[in-house]
Amino acid sequence: MTPIKIAVASGKGGTGKTMVATSLASVLVSEHRVQLIDCDVEAPNAHLFLKPSINWSSPAVIMIPEINEERCTACGKCVEVCEFHALAQIGTRILVFPQLCHGCGTCSLYCPEDAISEIPHQIGEMSRGLTTNGVDFLMGELTISEPMATPIIRQLKGLVNEKGEIIIFDSPPGASCAVVATVHDADYVLLVTEPTPFGLHDLKQMIGVLKATGTPGGVIINRDGIGNQQLESFLEGTPYPILMKIPYDSEIALGLASGNVLTDFIPQYQSEFQSLHRRILEHYAKVSA
């Protein structure tokens, strides 16, 4: 059986993605093989809740150009073909901007003098470990000042356990490249939002992403009870059903602020997350039929 890949995304930051991802993983691991991948490589935090014992790590690298100045004739072809402006030509010299390079290799492919070799440039680190309850945990961390998150996310995806049963991707906030890289190959996307104009505004952006990728999804309303009815009215006309509501509750906030998993410090949520899993599978079966 191929695993079901569930991405947890939100649009707006701070709506509870990691709370949902870590709770779902903790509940499902009692009956399934679960892998959780923290794809928020600019600010990973799922490990603070799951406390895995890390037993593997590896640098995340991209290959960037190095100019062999003896061979280079300064023809400028590499500058011309670089879509990302990671190369500039000053007189007879080619300058490389490693932080703009996407590692695509186009420059070395086009260089007529074979004067470009590709050298590794570390942009971050990936690590892996098991939690005490058996979740196979993976995370990536972008080096400070490195701007590109997507290569690490792609490399993390290369470590998906295809023999697993449930793979959970904890997405970064927003709706930009890093989020698209996280959700594009998911089977299902859980959209965690809050019933405020901010939550709704950014949820609409996420729905725009899902329409483009054609990925089905459902909504979790967190901090239910605050804000207004706009979110629920909006969702009525969409193919994204409300799968769960979590109330605005200071006990939840306190427990999370202490670094605990929701389903550990309020065990009644264990059955709620089991029900959530059932609703995901039902909805997924319905839309993929």
Partner: protein, 113 residues
């Protein structure tokens, strides 16, 4: 000696642009004969690397000095290597002409990095 001033519009009366890589226009001004022309900034709508692309444009146009509100780290690196002087102005200047006059009067500061 050629100055390139980042600008919101395509005349000497246009408002100067405080942004370099994302400036809509560059006004090329020749200090030898006070002639000028406007160029659309080819980098303005780039997804990324606008500072480098705009710098490359100035390098190819053989500019001696770049005048803008501020220069990002990539533009700074490229322009430094090309020996193009970077000079900054603040939001008080209402026209490209007033920036050029201030440059001639040596009232503008070198970019700090």
């Amino acid at each position: 000696m050629i100055l390139m001033i980042s600008s919101q519009g395509d005349t000497l009366q246009s408002e100067p642009s405080l942004r370099f890589g994302r400036a809509p226009y560059f006004i090329e001004f020749n200090l030898e004969d006070d002639s000028w022309k406007a160029h659309e900034n080819p980098a303005v709508s780039e997804a990324g690397g606008a500072g480098v692309a705009a710098s490359q444009f100035l390098i190819d146009k053989k500019a001696s000095a770049a005048l803008s509100g501020r220069f990002g780290p990539n533009a700074h690196y490229a322009l430094t290597h090309a020996n193009i002087r970077m000079v900054t102005f603040d939001g008080d200047y209402r026209s490209v002409q007033s920036v050029i006059d201030a440059y001639k009067d040596e009232k503008l500061q070198e970019a700090k990095h």
